[in-house]
């Protein structure tokens, strides 16, 4: 049981939640995640640790409401408890001095890229952050990202804020400006990571992507999270979540993410009708 300390919606569908988890707060490193369940009949879902404080014993999650579990989580508030929470899981991001590191966060992917930007900055890198969203309201955590970046570029699909276009346009622009990029870290929707990887491959820029496959245990026991990287099958929960973007089979991964679409819809609708989801 982990107590919720704070909850706040930062866009209509994204909220941040501070949770008491002293052991995880002590151990967590950039790039790692937790797995939680909201109730006894609940699913295990992975969420990245977006922030944390070892001294105060909390971690922060930034969550987009997409289905039953995230919706149920969003309904909880300070003083209430999360029934199961385990972590930190996955391998931490490999942090070292690379030179110039471009961090690309798309939508909810900005949240997990924040601790990576922080760690890269601390390791002495010049950090350029590209924050992408469909529209202005969906560009989250801009202040936090500015605080840990040397430069921030914002893109929106509809041009309501920053550059009109996609994050790949922003990368292209940096390259055109003559920016020497040593590493790109891209986190966001799979389709975004796919196109970022295709672009950076053209320029031969090493690219890390953080994959968000479906998971069950998160400890390497089931293989639900498997992806093809190069000619190998990898388990995202223990071998990742970060991989060489130039080698990931994104098309396969996107299909796997849709495996339970109709069941997810059933769960969401039942929850919305108040059928289930009693919180213990």
């Amino acid at each position: 049981m982990n107590k919720i300390l704070e909850k706040e919606f930062i866009t209509p569908f994204v909220f941040r939640m501070k949770v008491e988890a002293p052991e995880i707060a002590r151990k967590r490193k950039a790039g790692q995640f937790i797995i939680l369940r909201t109730c006894d009949a609940g699913e295990r879902i992975p969420l990245t640790i977006a922030d944390g404080n070892a001294d105060e014993g909390w971690i922060e999650l930034v969550v987009q409401v997409v289905g039953k579990t995230t919706k149920q989580l969003s309904a909880l508030g300070p003083g209430q408890e999360i029934c199961d929470l385990a972590g930190p899981l996955g391998k931490p991001t490999h942090i070292e001095f690379f030179g110039t590191v471009v961090i690309v966060g798309g939508g909810i992917g900005i949240a997990p890229s924040h601790p990576i930007a922080q760690a890269m900055k601390r390791a002495g890198n010049r950090v350029i952050s590209i924050l992408g969203g469909r529209t202005k309201d969906l560009v989250i955590m801009e202040e936090k990202m500015r605080a840990t970046s040397d430069r921030v570029v914002v893109t929106t699909d509809d041009g309501s804020y920053g550059i009109k276009g996609l994050v790949t346009d922003a990368i292209q622009k940096l390259v055109d400006e003559g920016e020497k990029i040593n590493l790109v870290v891209a986190i966001g929707p799979p389709i975004m990571m796919k196109f970022v990887s295709l672009l950076t491959k053209k320029f031969d820029i090493p690219t890390l992507v953080s994959l968000n496959t479906i998971m069950v245990d998160g400890t390497g026991m089931c293989g639900a999270c498997r992806v093809t990287v190069g000619d190998q099958t990898k388990f995202v929960c223990v071998d990742g979540p970060e991989f060489d973007g130039h080698k990931v089979d994104f098309d396969e991964m996107m299909k796997r993410l849709r495996a339970y679409e109709s069941d997810e819809k059933t769960s969401r609708e039942r929850y919305e009708q108040g059928c289930c989801g009693k919180h213990r």
Binding site: K68, A86, T219, G220, M221, V238, E252, A259, D263
Partner: protein, 478 residues
């Protein structure tokens, strides 16, 4: 019938008492236990078949050496409390072992009655009697809490809550040491909870055993991934005096054939975890989904494959094909499980091997391509090696498949504690008698040491390890 009046000849004339079972047509539509259990009269008849042999070959066949003649004698005399207490002297999980142990290869294999009939199936049904005694106790509510010695102030960490870990927790706690069991998942029990299905091992049995440990004063911490939440070295820093690693063989193997990452392709671990631990059979009452497939192929021939196939039937599959590359005689599964699977309608496709999975545009598996096999020369395991018959490829329409070809060792703990030595398969190397690893204060046992083995072997190692840990804590000598 007065027990003492029976002659050996008369005892040998009593046929083995079959345990009543749910009708196959009925049971494939529920998840309740298949064998229903003996009643007192059945138990009496069966127990009278035991000849009370002095040299007791059955005991020698039992990895934890239960005093089998003694517990059976107590059943004959109607002293069920004595009977269960006798079993529990060496086996803390009798309700589990009575259900899942391969008795036909252990205690019942050496049974003189079976030998006299030249048929191991006619041996005294020791496992069924063990289950009877254990169930009798269960029906009477909570078990008696064993005597716990005065607190020693020493602390032991048990990593993993499968049968090995639970055994160590009980045996070490009894000596007065403080015990904390760390479990990665949200529920303790290991494979007994997440793997073996409800219809073979009701989860309430496992939960009751865990509750008994808690009543003994053992702390169980779920959602704690050792190696991640804290490393073994950090556990020592926190004040633990010894650590027992029992993290199991939870790393699923795949076949490395084309199409294995299609949707609808599961490892047995994933399929069974979704179905059991996550209760996907009651979706949408529970949130975790599982493919509700009509035609399911299961690859493999062991107990895990049988469990997966029978689970698929209970999830509504119309056709379940069990595809195994050798013949029935080579199947590693227990005869009883193969029999149950066949009764329920699992279709055995023997001497056939999957070579490719074929999907549709959405990435869902639609067909499996197989090749026929024949048996050649014996291989390293002594079983005849299956050889593909060229040109015999054929396809079967499926909408889900389950890979049940085995598990390797869980690498999480060794990967984060490099001074624990592992062998080339990734199993932790531990001394056979003491279960000591290469790292001071750290012991290991169960599947992480043995590779995928059995419940009773895991418990047997747990017992030995607990004994060694208790000595280590008393003397301080490694």
């Amino acid at each position: 019938m007065e027990a003492k009046n029976l002659t050996t000849k008369e005892r040998l004339q009593i046929p083995p008492v079959a345990m009543p079972e749910q009708d196959p047509r009925e049971r494939v539509r529920n998840v309740s236990e298949v064998p229903i259990g003996y009643d007192a009269a059945m138990a009496l008849t069966e127990s009278q078949r035991c000849l009370q042999c002095k040299n007791a070959p059955c005991v020698k066949g039992c990895p934890v050496e239960i005093d089998i003649p003694a517990f059976i004698k107590a059943i004959v005399e109607g002293k069920y409390r004595d009977s269960i207490n006798k079993i529990k002297e060496t086996n803390i999980l009798p309700a589990v072992c009575g259900r899942v142990c391969p008795q036909e290869e252990q205690c019942q294999k050496g049974c003189v009655v079976g030998k006299a009939h030249k048929d191991v199936d006619k041996a005294v049904q020791i496992g069924k009697l063990e289950r009877f005694a254990a169930d009798w106790e269960m029906e009477r509510g909570e078990a008696e809490v064993p005597v716990i010695k005065a607190s020693t102030g020493k602390r032991v960490a048990v990593v993993g809550s499968g049968p090995a870990g639970l055994t160590v927790a009980a045996d070490v706690r009894r000596e007065g040491h403080e015990v904390t069991v760390f479990e990665a998942l949200h529920r303790p029990g290991g494979v007994l909870i997440y793997g073996i299905p409800e219809f073979r091992l009701p989860k309430r049995i496992v939960m009751r055993e865990v509750r008994n440990l808690e009543r003994m004063g053992v702390t169980v911490r779920t959602n704690y991934v050792v190696g991640k939440t804290a490393t073994i070295d950090e556990l020592f820093d926190e004040g633990f005096d010894a650590v027992f690693v029992a993290t199991g063989a939870g790393l699923p193997l795949f076949m490395r054939i084309p199409g294995e990452n299609l949707n609808g392709v599961y490892s047995a671990n994933e399929y069974l975890t979704r179905a059991n631990l996550m209760a996907a059979y009651s979706f949408p009452e529970s949130d975790t989904p599982i493919a509700r497939a009509r035609n399911v192929a299961v690859f493999g021939g062991g107990n895990v494959a049988m469990d997966a196939a029978r689970t698929a039937l209970r999830l509504g599959a119309e056709n379940v094909y069990l595809i195994y590359r050798r013949s029935k005689a080579e199947m590693p599964a227990r005869v009883e499980e193969v029999h149950h699977a066949e009764q329920e309608g699992v279709q055995m496709m023997l001497l056939q091997n999957p070579i490719r999975l074929i999907g549709d545009d959405d990435g869902w598996v639609r067909e499996v391509e197989c090749i026929k096999m024949e048996l050649g020369e014996p291989d390293a395991s002594g079983r005849r090696r299956p050889v593909p018959i060229e040109g015999s490829e054929f396809r079967v329409a499926i909408d889900a498949c389950i890979v049940a070809i085995g598990n390797a060792s869980n690498p999480l703990v060794p990967a984060t504690t490099p001074d624990i030595a592992v062998n080339k398969w990734g199993n932790i190397v531990a001394d056979e008698e003491t279960l000591k690893t290469s790292k001071k204060g750290v012991y290991a046992g169960g599947d992480i040491v043995l590779g995928a083995a059995t419940v009773i072997l895991a418990m047997g190692q747990g017992r030995k390890a607990a004994h060694a840990i208790n000595e280590f804590l008393a003397s301080g000598a490694w």
